[in-house]
C-alpha cells in the first residue's frame, strides 16, 4: 500500500507540484520528484517549539516536508497550553522540543522530526550548515539576531562575490497579541534582522527618579519593588524568579503597599506578573496565521512553485483584517550582512569607554546587551573590556573610566565588539568628529 497510499494522501500537494500554471516561477518544472525531494532530502531547521513552533511543525509536515530538526531549550508550562497545541497537561515540565517532535512523528507517519533540547548557541557552524532552510519562531530578539549572525557567517565570498550556494534562507515569524509579521531573509542578498533592527523598539523602561520619587502608575510601584526593594530586602536570598509564585506574591504585596501609600489605583496581580516577567500577550489564532504564512514561504522556496514574499508581511486583525507586504531594505553598512565596518561617530574626545559601551547598548540600530571590546592598539591586540568572563572583567574594569584617547584609540581606529546578540565579533570604526580631531591636534 505504501507508495500508492502516499500518492493518494498527497493528492492535494501533487496538483500544484505536478502541474504548471501561469503564476509559477519561470524556473519551476512540474515533476513528481519535487514531492520526493521535500519528504526525503530537504532538510529544515525549526527554531523554537512554542506558539509559532508547534504550528510550524504541523504546517510543514502537512506541506510534505519529512526531514525537520527542531531546537528549543524551554520546558512546557501551564500558560503555554492555550496555544501550543502539541502539549498536554501531563507534559508540563518536559522538553518542548522532545514532546513536539514525538507528537508530530506519531501523528504524521513519514515525517521525521529530530529534537534538540538545548540553546541555539550550543550548536556550531557545522550543525547549521547542513540545512536547506532555517525557520525561526522565536519570541527573543537576541536569539533571532544570533541565528541571523550565524547564517551570515556561513556565507562564502570569493573575490568579493557571494557564492550563492552558501546562502541558507531564513524565514522568520513574530507575533504579539493580534499583530504579527512574517519575513523572508536571504542572508547576504536581502535585508537581514540587523538591517531592520529599528523595527524592534527597545523595551519600555521607567526613569529611576520617577519610580523612586514621583510614582504615578501602578507599573511604577512594581518597578520600584523590583529594582529597589528586592535587592535591599532580598526576601528569598536569590534573584527574582518570575515563575516562582512566592516571588510574585511578595512583589504583589509590596507594590500594593506602595500603591496604597501613594493613592495609586489599578494595581492587579495580573499586572504585577506582566511587568515582572515582561509578558507578551498571545493567542492561538495569530500564531496560526503567521506560522502558516512562514510555511507557505518555505514551500515556495523549496519547490520554486512561485516567487517568494518580497520580503516582509505585517498582519493586524484588530480592525477587520489588515495585511501589508513591502520590501525591507538592506542596509549599506549593516553590522551583520555588509562587508563594511560600521562607523561610530565620537563627538567628544573625552568620551570614556563606559560611555561608548552605553552607546552600543542604547542606539536603536545597535541594541547590544553585554558588549566586550578589543582593539588593535600600537600593533597589539588588546582587550579593553569584557563583561562576560569574570576574571577578565575584573582586570579590565578600570578601563571603563578612561577616555578613548587615553586607551590609545584615534580617529579611524577599528574596534572588535563581541556581544550575545551575535556569534561573531563585529568590527566598528571610530570616527571622531572634525572638531574633536582639531582639538586633538591643538
Amino acid at each position: 500500500m505504501g507508495s500508492d497510499y502516499a500518492h493518494r494522501k498527497w493528492c492535494h500537494l501533487r496538483k500544484v507540484l505536478e502541474r504548471s500554471g501561469p503564476f509559477c516561477r519561470p524556473d519551476f518544472e512540474p515533476s513528481p520528484n519535487t514531492l520526493q525531494f521535500l519528504s526525503e532530502n530537504c532538510k529544515l531547521l525549526v527554531i523554537g517549539a512554542g506558539g509559532l513552533g508547534c504550528e510550524l511543525l504541523k504546517d510543514l509536515a502537512l506541506m510534505g516536508f519529512g526531514q525537520i530538526h527542531l531546537i528549543d531549550m524551554d520546558t512546557i508550562e501551564l500558560s503555554n497550553l492555550n496555544r501550543q497545541f502539541l502539549f498536554r497537561q501531563k507534559d508540563i515540565g518536559a522538553s518542548k522540543a522532545e514532546i513536539a517532535a514525538k507528537f508530530i512523528n506519531t501523528r504524521i507517519p513519514g515525517c521525521h522530526v529530530i529534537p534538540h533540547f538545548c540553546k541555539i548557541q550550543d550548536k556550531d557552524e557545522a550543525f547549521y550548515r547542513q540545512f536547506h532552510i532555517v525557520i525561526s519562531g522565536l519570541d527573543s530578539i537576541v536569539a533571532r539576531r544570533w541565528i541571523n549572525g550565524m547564517l551570515i557567517s556561513l556565507l562564502n565570498y570569493e573575490d568579493g562575490e557571494l557564492d550563492q550556494s552558501s546562502v541558507i534562507p531564513m524565514i522568520d515569524g513574530g507575533t504579539e497579541g493580534f499583530k504579527g509579521n512574517a519575513r523572508v531573509i536571504l542572508p547576504g542578498l536581502t535585508a537581514c534582522i540587523e538591517c531592520t533592527l529599528d523595527l524592534y523598539p527597545p523595551q519600555v523602561t521607567y526613569p529611576l527618579c520617577t519610580i523612586a520619587n514621583t510614582p504615578r502608575l501602578p507599573e511604577h510601584c512594581i518597578e520600584y519593588v523590583k529594582v529597589m526593594q528586592w535587592p535591599k530586602e532580598n526576601p528569598f536570598d536569590c534573584p527574582i524568579d518570575g515563575d516562582d509564585p512566592q516571588h510574585i506574591n511578595w512583589i504583589y504585596e509590596k507594590s500594593n503597599e506602595r500603591a496604597v501609600q501613594f493613592s495609586i489605583q489599578g494595581l492587579t496581580y495580573r499586572l504585577v506578573q506582566g511587568v515582572v516577567k515582561n509578558i507578551i500577550p498571545a493567542v492561538a489564532s495569530t500564531n496560526a496565521v503567521i506560522a502558516a504564512s512562514c510555511s507557505t514561504e518555505v514551500f515556495k522556496l523549496a519547490t520554486s512553485c512561485c516567487s517568494s514574499l518580497n520580503n516582509y508581511m505585517v498582519l493586524n486583525d484588530l480592525d477587520g483584517i489588515y495585511t501589508y507586504t513591502y520590501e525591507a531594505e538592506k542596509k549599506e553598512d549593516c553590522l551583520a550582512c555588509s562587508q563594511i565596518p560600521r562607523e561610530i561617530q565620537i563627538s567628544n574626545s573625552t568620551l570614556k569607554l563606559k560611555d561608548l559601551l552605553a552607546i552600543l547598548c542604547e542606539r536603536v540600530d545597535l541594541q547590544m546587551k553585554n558588549p566586550g571590546i578589543t582593539a588593535n592598539v600600537n600593533g597589539k591586540n588588546k582587550t579593553l573590556y569584557m563583561q562576560t568572563v569574570a576574571s577578565i572583567e575584573e582586570k579590565t574594569r578600570e578601563n571603563l573610566n578612561r577616555s578613548l584617547v587615553e586607551l590609545g584609540l584615534r580617529n579611524g581606529s577599528e574596534i572588535m565588539v563581541a556581544d550575545s546578540t551575535t556569534p561573531n565579533t563585529v568590527v566598528m570604526k571610530l570616527k571622531f568628529s572634525t572638531s574633536t580631531t582639531d582639538i586633538d591636534m591643538l
Binding site: 503564476f23 496555544r83 512574517a182 501613594f262 496565521v289
Partner: protein
C-alpha cells in the same frame, strides 16, 4: 511592620492557563467565549484549523456536521485526523481529536450532511452562537444563509482552494463596545471643563509656584491655563496651524529662566506644547458615534431592543439632559511628567466625574428598562460603566444576506463591476470562485479535479464565469490566466493556506462572540502566491 499587607489572590488553574489571552480580551471576554457554542459544517482541513484556534482558547462547546467518510487525501491535508482513521466518520474522529486539545471544551457531532439537516430539522441551528462552513455547496449555502439571517446568528463562510482563501461573514447587525483602537486620544475637555475640573485648575496659580512645583505641574494644567488665556484674548480655541503655533509660543514663553535668562529644562511644558495638536480643539462627539446615537434602533426602543441600544439611548438622553451634549467622560488620564500628589489629584477629578456620568447613565438605563417593560436587572451597572468608558469608540456593522448575492434579482453587482475595472483588484478571485461554485453545480466536481480534464475544464469554467457576469450585467472577464490557475488547483486544499485562513476565521468568530474588535465587512480574499489580501463589502 503593622501595614495591612493585602494578601495575594489565589490564582486558579484556569486563570494561569489562559493568562496570555486574558490580557487581550479580559475575564469578561473569556466568559463570553466559554458561554458560546459554535457549529462547524464540514471538518475539512480548513474546518478543523478553525476549530483548533477556538478549542485552544476555551470555547464553551462545538458541534461538527459532516456526513463524509475519511479518505486518504483527507489525511494529507488535515492534522486532526490520524492515519488509522481512514474510512471512519470524519465528524466523529475530528470531534474526538479536537477534544484532546482542551478538557474544558465540550464537543459533539452529527454524522449527516447539511442538506439532510436543513431539510429534516430546520430548527437545528436555533441555538448556536456562530455557524461556520467550509466547502459548502452553493445550494445548501443559500438555504443556510436565509435561515441564519432570520435567526440573527452570524454565519462565516470559508473556502480554501490552492493558493487562494476566501471568507465571507454574514451578520444582520453587530455592535461593538470595545473596539480596541490602536491610538486613543485622551478625553480632557479643556475647552469646556466640568465644574470640579475648572475648580481644580483655578486652584493652581502657575506664577506662584516655586521652581520644583513649577516643573512638576501636569501638562494638562499648563495647557488649560494657556488655552484659557488664548480663548479670553481671541474668543475661541485656536483653529489652524498658525494659531496653534502661536499658542505653542505662548506656552514656551512660560518656561522659567535661569540666572543667565536661558530657559530651563521643563519637561511638563514640552509635553504641553506637544499636546497642542491633539488636545485643544472644541469637544466633539465623533460622527461615527453620532450615527449610532441617531440610529432608529436607538431612538425607538422596543421591548425587544438589545442591551447595546438601550444603553446607547440612555447615553443619548444623558447627553441631551445632564451632559451638555458631551458623551460620558472616559475618566482616563495618560501618564505625564508630574509629582505623585499633583498627578493623582488631577486623576481623581477625572475619575470622579467619569463615575458620576456613568451613574447618571445607569439611572437613565434603569428608567428606560422600566419604560419598555423589561426587568431592571436586564442590564448591569457594570455593563453601563463599560459602555461609558468606551462610548467614543462604539461601532455598529450592518451586513447583507449571502442568499441575495446568489440571486440575480437581488444581487447588487455595482461593487463587483467597479472593482473589476481596476486591474489590481483582488475581486477577480471572488468572480472565479463564484464561477467554480456554478461549475460544481453543473458538473459535480471541481474544475481540474481529474488529471486528464484540466484543459477541457478551463473552457467550461470560462463559460460558467461568463454566465455569472451576464447575470450581473458585466462584460466578459479578460483574465484567462486566473481561470487556468484555478483549474491547476483542481479543488486541492493546501494545508498552509487553510491554516492561514483558519486562524483568521477563528479570530473573526471570537470577535462575534466577545463583541470586541471590528470584524471584516464582509468579504476577505487571501492570495498566498503574492501574500496579499483584500476586503470588500458585497
Amino acid at each position: 511592620m503593622a501595614s495591612p499587607s493585602p494578601k495575594s489572590p489565589e490564582q486558579s488553574e484556569r486563570t494561569r492557563k489562559y493568562d496570555r489571552q486574558l490580557r487581550l480580551w479580559g475575564d469578561h471576554g473569556q466568559a463570553a467565549l466559554e458561554g458560546a457554542h459554535v457549529c462547524l459544517i464540514n471538518a475539512t482541513g480548513l474546518g478543523t484549523e478553525i476549530l483548533k484556534s477556538l478549542v485552544l482558547p476555551g470555547i464553551g462547546a462545538f458541534t461538527i456536521i459532516d456526513s463524509k467518510k475519511i479518505s486518504d487525501d483527507d489525511i494529507g491535508a488535515n492534522f486532526f485526523l490520524d492515519s488509522e482513521s481512514v474510512g471512519k466518520s470524519r465528524a466523529e474522529i475530528a470531534t474526538q481529536v479536537l477534544l484532546e486539545l482542551n478538557s474544558d471544551v465540550r464537543g459533539d457531532y452529527v454524522d449527516e450532511g447539511p442538506e439532510q439537516i436543513l431539510s429534516n430539522s430546520p430548527d437545528f441551528f436555533n441555538n448556536f452562537t456562530v455557524v461556520i462552513t467550509t466547502a459548502l455547496p452553493e445550494k445548501s449555502l443559500i438555504r443556510l444563509s436565509k435561515i441564519l439571517w432570520d435567526l440573527d446568528i452570524p454565519l462565516i463562510v470559508c473556502r480554501s482552494l490552492g493558493f487562494i482563501a476566501y471568507m465571507r461573514v454574514q451578520t444582520r447587525e453587530h455592535t461593538v463596545i470595545e473596539t480596541h483602537p490602536d491610538n486613543e486620544t485622551p478625553d480632557l475637555r479643556l475647552d469646556n471643563p466640568f465644574e470640579t475640573l475648572k475648580n481644580h485648575f483655578d486652584s493652581i496659580n502657575l506664577d506662584e509656584l516655586d521652581l520644583k512645583d513649577h516643573t512638576h505641574v501636569p501638562y494638562v494644567v499648563i495647557l488649560y491655563k494657556y488655552l484659557e488665556k488664548w480663548i479670553s484674548e481671541n474668543g475661541d480655541v485656536p483653529k489652524n496651524y498658525k494659531e496653534k503655533q502661536q499658542l505653542r509660543d505662548m506656552i514656551r514663553s512660560g518656561i522659567r529662566k535661569d540666572e543667565h535668562n536661558n530657559p530651563i529644562d521643563e519637561e511638563n511644558f514640552e509635553e504641553a506644547i506637544k499636546a497642542v495638536n491633539t488636545s485643544v480643539g472644541r469637544y466633539e462627539v465623533p460622527p461615527s458615534v453620532m450615527e449610532v446615537l441617531n440610529d432608529d434602533c436607538c431612538i425607538n426602543l422596543t421591548a425587544k431592543s438589545k442591551p447595546f441600544w438601550i444603553i446607547a439611548k440612555a447615553v443619548k438622553d444623558f447627553m441631551e439632559n445632564d451632559g451638555s451634549n458631551s458623551l460620558p467622560l472616559k475618566g482616563a488620564v495618560p501618564d505625564m511628567t508630574a509629582d505623585t500628589e499633583k498627578y493623582i489629584s488631577l486623576q481623581q477629578v477625572y475619575h470622579k466625574q467619569a463615575a458620576a456620568d456613568a451613574e447618571a447613565v445607569w439611572r437613565r438605563t434603569v428608567h428606560l428598562l422600566r419604560q419598555i417593560g423589561r426587568p431592571s436587572d436586564a442590564i448591569t451597572e457594570k455593563d453601563v460603566k463599560l459602555f461609558c468608558r468606551h462610548a467614543s469608540n462604539i461601532y455598529i456593522q450592518r451586513g447583507s444576506c449571502i442568499a441575495d448575492e446568489y440571486d440575480p434579482k437581488t444581487v447588487d453587482a455595482s461593487e463587483m463591476t467597479q472593482s473589476l475595472e481596476n486591474p489590481e483588484s483582488m475581486m477577480v478571485y471572488y468572480v472565479v470562485l463564484r464561477g467554480i461554485e456554478k461549475f460544481q453545480v453543473e458538473y459535480n466536481s471541481y474544475p481540474g479535479e481529474f488529471d486528464d480534464h484540466v484543459e477541457p475544464d478551463i473552457v467550461k469554467l470560462k463559460a460558467c464565469i461568463s454566465k455569472l457576469l451576464m447575470e450581473w450585467g458585466c462584460g466578459p472577464l479578460a483574465k484567462d490566466d486566473y481561470v487556468h490557475e484555478f483549474c491547476r488547483y483542481g479543488g486541492s486544499e493546501l494545508h498552509s493556506v487553510s491554516a492561514f485562513l483558519g486562524g483568521l476565521a477563528a479570530q473573526e468568530t471570537i470577535k462575534f462572540i466577545t463583541n470586541q474588535c471590528k470584524p471584516i465587512h464582509n468579504t476577505f480574499i487571501y492570495d498566498a502566491v503574492t501574500s496579499n489580501s483584500a476586503s470588500f463589502f458585497i
